[in-house]
Every structure is written in structure tokens, then in C-alpha cells.
């Protein structure tokens, strides 16, 4: 015990050395732990959100982009597909498909994505209602737990959707006032971040608001990769100035009236949705004044809208290893205008791409760790030279050679343990900083103060590093020749 105390006093006796060694150790250990923390959380996020989906079907484009947008809701979709094209996958009773989920993306509320879908999505992520009820009628939404929490939305709350995926006041659809009907229990998966509505609500919001015959397909063709997607095309121009097209009946129509679904006197038939084909659409002649937003959520009903668009379909196979199943994505890609991709495969590809960067970082961290071991070695060796009388003195006072060995080892280990503790703290603080940043960008929650399970291993490696660095100085202390040292002084 007194050796630990003495070792500690010796360390703080030389604060500059202590400081330098701690900085190096903190950098090395902190960086390694940060990478571990980051990797496990990313992997965790990616894997949790796989939800058993084996294949995603959407418009042609980058498969990774399609996966990211449809499964992780962090990129823009590759485009839209028509219900007709997607029918084989959406139809119930497909021999290979266990579950398919249609997704219509394109809108958000304060950065949280509005997803037009049916109740099948709940099965994917094992989501259950916490309160209220599921979305059924037009303009009804059920929201994920994080959406409710972060935006402070409760049952009955109303909000308008905005176009695109980034929060932008200018792009609000004033016509589509959505009402929260239910809130889901937290699942830890991406569904916590989603606002779920019926596919038809998404269509309805856009139809109500479909200025300049600007249909959704066009939208998705915009360059979504430039983050501020919709700023490029000037929405202020058509910010309810319907001058572009023939909305003459609209003039003098006060849009504020619309909040609270006050569609009274708002006869849809009077709208002239140029180039917008309502034929074959159940909702043509749909009388909004009656507020009868009945909405059939059944799959067979959805399939009657063959010419309407959705964004993508998430598919879960009955048997993912079935030979036909393995051939399916390739067949789709080669023989149709659709694109099929495997989330697991694309995510692995993403890991590989990130892996290069991670490896470089890991290498740097390892180098810093080695340099810090060298620095500990050199400073212990230096202090040994300065303290040769002191060490002889400890022997004269009754200390055994092993006491000196232990003393120097403890000095090395104390340093590394201290570096480990500070490194851990710093990496977690860094993680909370980055987590906040990522949360603002993608709404994904990163938990900074968790363990990733490899802390013990890292501690072991750290102690080993300290031992190796201190071993030679410790052995030199062990071999202190008292007679020689004292004769010189």
C-alpha cells in the first residue's frame, strides 16, 4: 500500500512528465474507445433496423441510396414506382413473400419523415401502440415514440407536413393538416422516428397541393443528394400564389381557414388539376365538405390505384435461403424497370467503405498508444537516473530489490490506469458531442454513456502496455547496486 502511495507521489512530483504521458495515453486510449463506441452503435443501429427485411424494391438508382432511404430514412429515395409495377410484391398470397410493406416517402414534419404505408410496417419492427389508435382515415397519423417526445406531440395534436426531408417552413403543405391519433411504444428501431400515415394520405396531401402539375415523380428526380434539395426550385413563387395555373376559384380563398380541416365550401371538383388524372381514383368526386375521410387500408384496395406512385416496397421472404428467392433480386434488376437490393448486402458494402476510414483511425490510435508506451518508458528511465540515490536509499532503509521493482511497475501502471480513465471519459464526452450532431442531422439517437462490451479488453491491453513500458526500468531498479551508487555520491 505504501508503495502505491509513494509511486503516486513520485508521479506528481514530476507534473510535466505526468501531463505529457497522460495526454498521449488519453489520445491513444480515447481514440480507440471512441472508434469502438462509434462502430458498435452504428452496427447496432443498422442491425436493429434491418427488421428482417430481405429485399427492398424501388426505382432504379443507387441500391445503397435506396436502402438508406427506405430502411434507415437517412437519404433521399431513388425515385418512385407505380403500384402497377409493384403489384406482384404487394399482392397478398405471393408464394415466396412472407410480408411486404409499401412505403411512400417525400414529406417530413420538422425533420421527422412522414411515411405513407399500411399497418404491415408495425410487424417489421415489432411496434405496438402506447396510446391512442393506429392511423386509418385520411390525415390521421400514428407517430413513433421519439417523434412524440422530441416534438412534444400528443394525441389530437395537429401539424402540417412539409415537402422534402429537411425541415423548411417555406415548403409546408397548408392543405394537409395531419392529426395525431396514436403514439407507438419505443422500439429502439427507426420506426421511433417516423410519422406513419396511410398511403392515400400522402397522395391526398400532394393532390390538394399539387401546384403546377408538379407531380411527385418529378420531385424525386431532383438532385436530392444536395442536402437543401428543394431550395433549388423556387417554392416562394408558388407559395400559394396559384397564378401559374387555373385556380381562379381559389382567389380570395383564405388559406388560414383550412387549419382544422375546415374544408367547408371547398369543392374539389372546382379545382382544375391540370394534367392530373383522377379517373379510376375512388376519391374523384370525393366530397371533402362532408369530411368523410373514410380510407380503406386493405392491400387489395391499394392495388386498385395501379397508376399511383409509391416509393418502395420492403419485402420479407418466407424462406430467405430458398433458391428462387436468391434469384429474385437479379431477375427483378435484369427484367424490370424496378430495382431490388438486399439490405444486408448493401450495409456490408457500406461497412467496407467505412472500414477503410475506421482502419486508418485505428492505426493512428495504435501508433499513439505505442508512442505513449515509449514516452512512459523514457520518462521512467530518466527518473530512474535522477533517482538512483533515492532508490539506493530505499534499499538502505530496508527495501527489498522486489520492492523497487514493484514501485516502478506501479508507477507505470498508475499512469496507464489514469490514462485509461481519462481516455474513457474523453471518448464518451466526444461521443455525446458527435451524437448530438448526428441527432440533429439524422434524428438518430446515439447514446454516449453506454458500454460496448470491449472495455475490459481495452483495460487489459492498457495494463499490458503499462507493464511493458515499465518492465525494463523496473528490472533496472531491481538490479540497483547500492554500494556502487552510494560510493559515487
Amino acid at each position: 500500500m505504501h508503495l502505491i502511495k509513494l509511486a503516486w507521489k513520485n508521479l506528481i512530483h514530476n507534473p510535466l512528465n505526468l501531463f505529457l504521458n497522460l495526454i498521449l495515453l488519453t489520445l491513444g486510449i480515447g481514440l480507440i474507445n471512441f472508434i469502438l463506441l462509434m462502430n458498435t452503435q452504428l452496427k447496432d443501429k443498422f442491425e436493429k433496423n434491418l427488421g428482417g427485411v430481405n429485399m427492398v424494391v424501388g426505382a432504379k438508382g443507387s441500391p445503397l441510396q435506396m436502402i438508406l432511404s427506405s430502411m434507415y430514412h437517412i437519404d433521399s429515395p431513388t425515385g418512385n414506382i407505380s403500384i402497377k409495377e409493384g403489384t406482384p410484391f404487394l399482392r397478398e398470397g405471393h408464394p415466396l413473400i412472407d410480408l411486404s410493406v409499401p412505403l411512400s416517402l417525400g414529406d417530413n414534419h420538422k425533420g421527422y419523415r412522414i411515411v405513407g404505408t399500411d399497418h404491415s410496417i408495425l410487424k417489421l419492427y415489432d411496434a405496438k401502440l402506447a396510446e391512442g389508435k393506429l392511423w386509418n382515415n385520411l390525415y390521421e397519423v400514428t407517430i413513433g415514440s421519439r417523434v412524440a417526445e422530441e416534438l412534444g406531440l400528443g394525441i389530437g395534436a395537429q401539424f402540417t407536413s412539409s415537402h422534402g426531408f429537411n425541415h423548411d417552413e417555406d415548403l409546408t403543405h397548408d392543405h394537409g393538416v395531419l392529426t395525431v391519433k396514436g403514439i407507438l411504444k419505443p422500439t429502439g428501431s427507426v420506426i421511433d422516428l417516423l410519422i406513419l400515415v396511410s398511403t392515400e394520405s400522402v397522395w391526398a396531401v400532394h393532390e390538394d397541393h399539387d401546384h403546377e402539375g408538379h407531380d411527385h415523380e418529378d420531385h424525386s428526380d431532383h438532385d436530392h443528394s444536395a442536402d437543401e434539395t428543394h431550395q433549388g426550385h423556387d417554392h416562394s413563387d408558388h407559395g400559394h400564389n396559384h397564378g401559374d395555373h387555373d385556380h381562379s376559384d381559389h382567389s380570395g380563398h383564405d388559406h388560414d381557414d383550412h387549419t382544422g380541416h375546415d374544408h367547408a365550401g371547398h369543392d374539389h371538383d372546382e379545382h382544375q388539376h391540370d394534367g392530373h388524372d383522377h379517373s379510376g381514383h375512388d376519391h374523384s368526386g370525393h366530397d371533402h365538405s362532408e369530411h368523410n375521410h373514410q380510407n380503406d387500408l386493405s392491400r387489395s384496395h391499394l392495388l386498385t390505384h395501379g397508376d399511383k406512385d409509391i416509393t418502395s416496397i420492403l419485402v420479407k421472404f418466407k424462406n430467405p435461403k430458398n433458391f428462387q428467392v436468391l434469384q429474385l433480386p437479379r431477375n427483378i434488376n435484369e427484367n424490370t424497370d424496378l430495382q431490388a437490393a438486399s439490405p444486408a448486402y448493401e450495409i456490408n458494402r457500406l461497412y467496407d467503405m467505412m472500414g477503410t476510414g475506421t482502419k486508418a483511425l485505428q492505426l493512428i490510435a495504435l501508433l499513439i498508444a505505442i508512442v505513449s508506451a515509449l514516452s512512459i518508458f523514457v520518462s521512467l528511465l530518466n527518473s530512474l537516473k535522477q533517482r538512483k540515490y533515492e532508490l539506493s536509499l530505499l534499499r538502505v532503509m530496508g527495501g527489498k530489490p522486489t520492492s523497487l521493482l514493484t514501485l516502478i511497475l506501479i508507477e507505470g501502471l498508475l499512469l496507464t490506469i489514469l490514462g485509461y480513465i481519462i481516455g474513457m471519459l474523453v471518448s464518451h464526452i466526444g461521443m455525446s458531442g458527435l451524437g448530438q450532431n448526428l441527432e440533429e442531422k439524422y434524428n438518430y439517437e446515439f447514446v454516449p454513456w453506454v458500454l460496448h462490451g470491449k472495455e475490459g479488453l481495452l483495460l487489459g491491453a492498457t495494463l499490458l502496455l503499462g507493464t511493458i513500458a515499465a518492465l525494463i526500468p523496473a528490472l533496472m531498479a531491481y538490479g540497483t547496486d547500492i554500494h556502487k551508487n552510494l560510493s559515487q555520491g
Binding site: L6, L486, S487
Partner: protein, 209 residues
């Protein structure tokens, strides 16, 4: 009581020392005089249990010092032999009183704070007990090293050139201090020096050549 029997030490073929038998009773002071190169340090280290002689024996209280195993010898040295160096060395990172506490611990004794403060008071440096040793004056350091030699109530106190760096006044003071403290502790005091000022002060002396 310390005595030696036919002590010889040989470093290599050329450097080779033979020492006269010496004896120093409890509460007695023995002066070992000799010029540089006659093996003063060698003798001192042999007596202190630091350097095993090539041949011959050292007895303290009738037990042969080097008959013990090395571990026991380390303990014995810490407990029963007090060393005062020419230039005082201390553990730099801890305070004056902690240096004394370390001397107790390394000798395998429990720390006795009362004893430490009592000793510091009797040597007139109690006001410096919290000071780091490198901030103390030379006189204070010399007193502290005497305190350290005495802290475990040794049977023998060995002083290596305790006065050679001091002026006449300080020299007398330190000698008086060493003698009174050694007698109070009931220890045999052996002073090894080339300082001729001491020659006439002690009746019991051995000259090396």
C-alpha cells in the same frame, strides 16, 4: 555492539583491501580515519550490510551480519543499522516527516507519528516537518538524515564523512548531536572520515592505510 573479524575485500586483482579488526561497544563512539583510496567507503558499506566482504565477518550483538539470507539482511539493515551520509539523500517527492515514515515502513515497522514528531522536535526541525527535503537548508538536511538514521532505534549508527562539508561551528554541532542521540538511543556510533579536525575529539579510533 559491533565487531569485525579479519575483514578482507577484493574488487579485482589490483584493488584489494584488508581491514584491521574493530570493535565498538554500545553507546561508544569509534572514529575510523583514513585518506582517500584506503577503502573507507568499502569498510563502511561492509559494516552497513550493503556490501558482502570477500572474507571475514561482521558481528552485531553477537550475530553474524552476512550469515542471513539477502531478504533478512535487507530487513535487518533497515531496522538495526542507521546510516548518515556525507551528502544527505532523501526521497524528493515526499515531505521531511514522510521520509521518516518511509524509513519505518521499509524497515517493516508500523508508522509511529508520535515518535517522528518527537524526534523532529529533539533535533530542532519540527517546524520543517511538512517541507519537501530539497527546500531545506544544508544544516536542516543533515539533522533530518540523523533523524532518519535514528528513527528505528538502531543498534549501530554509521556516519560517512558527516562533517567534511561543514564549517567548524556546524561540524561541532553535528558531532555533538550524533553523540548525544546515539547515546540516547543506546547505539554504537562509528564515524568514518578523512576529516582531521575530528582526530583529537575521540579517544577510540582506528586509522586505515
Amino acid at each position: 555492539m559491533l565487531k569485525t573479524l579479519e575483514l578482507k575485500h577484493q574488487y579485482d586483482a589490483k584493488v584489494k583491501f584488508e581491514f584491521p579488526d574493530i570493535i565498538c561497544e554500545t553507546k561508544q563512539t569509534l572514529l575510523v580515519l583514513g585518506q582517500s583510496g584506503v577503502g573507507k567507503s568499502t569498510l563502511l558499506h561492509i559494516l552497513a550490510g550493503i556490501l558482502p566482504p570477500s572474507s571475514g565477518q561482521v558481528f552485531i550483538e553477537d550475530s553474524s551480519l552476512y550469515k542471513q539470507n539477502p531478504r533478512a539482511l535487507d530487513r535487518y539493515r533497515g531496522s538495526h543499522i542507521g546510516l548518515v551520509f556525507q551528502k544527505p539523500h532523501f526521497v524528493q517527492s515526499v515531505s521531511a516527516q514522510e521520509n521518516l515514515a518511509l524509513a519505518q515502513r521499509f524497515a517493516g515497522h508500523p508508522v509511529d507519528k508520535n515518535k517522528i514528531s518527537h524526534l523532529l522536535t529533539s533535533l530542532n526541525i519540527s517546524h520543517r516537518s511538512e517541507a519537501k527535503t530539497f527546500s531545506m537548508s544544508q544544516g536542516e538536511q543533515q539533522r533530518l538524515s540523523i533523524a532518519r538514521a535514528l528513527i528505528n532505534e538502531p543498534k549501530v549508527i554509521l556516519a560517512d564523512e558527516p562533517t567534511s562539508a561543514l564549517d567548524d561551528k556546524n561540524c561541532e554541532e553535528v558531532l555533538a548531536l550524533l553523540e548525544t542521540q546515539a547515546q540516547a538511543a543506546g547505539a554504537a556510533l562509528i564515524i568514518v572520515t578523512h576529516d582531521n579536525r575530528l582526530k583529537d575529539l575521540f579517544s577510540h579510533q582506528v586509522t586505515l592505510n
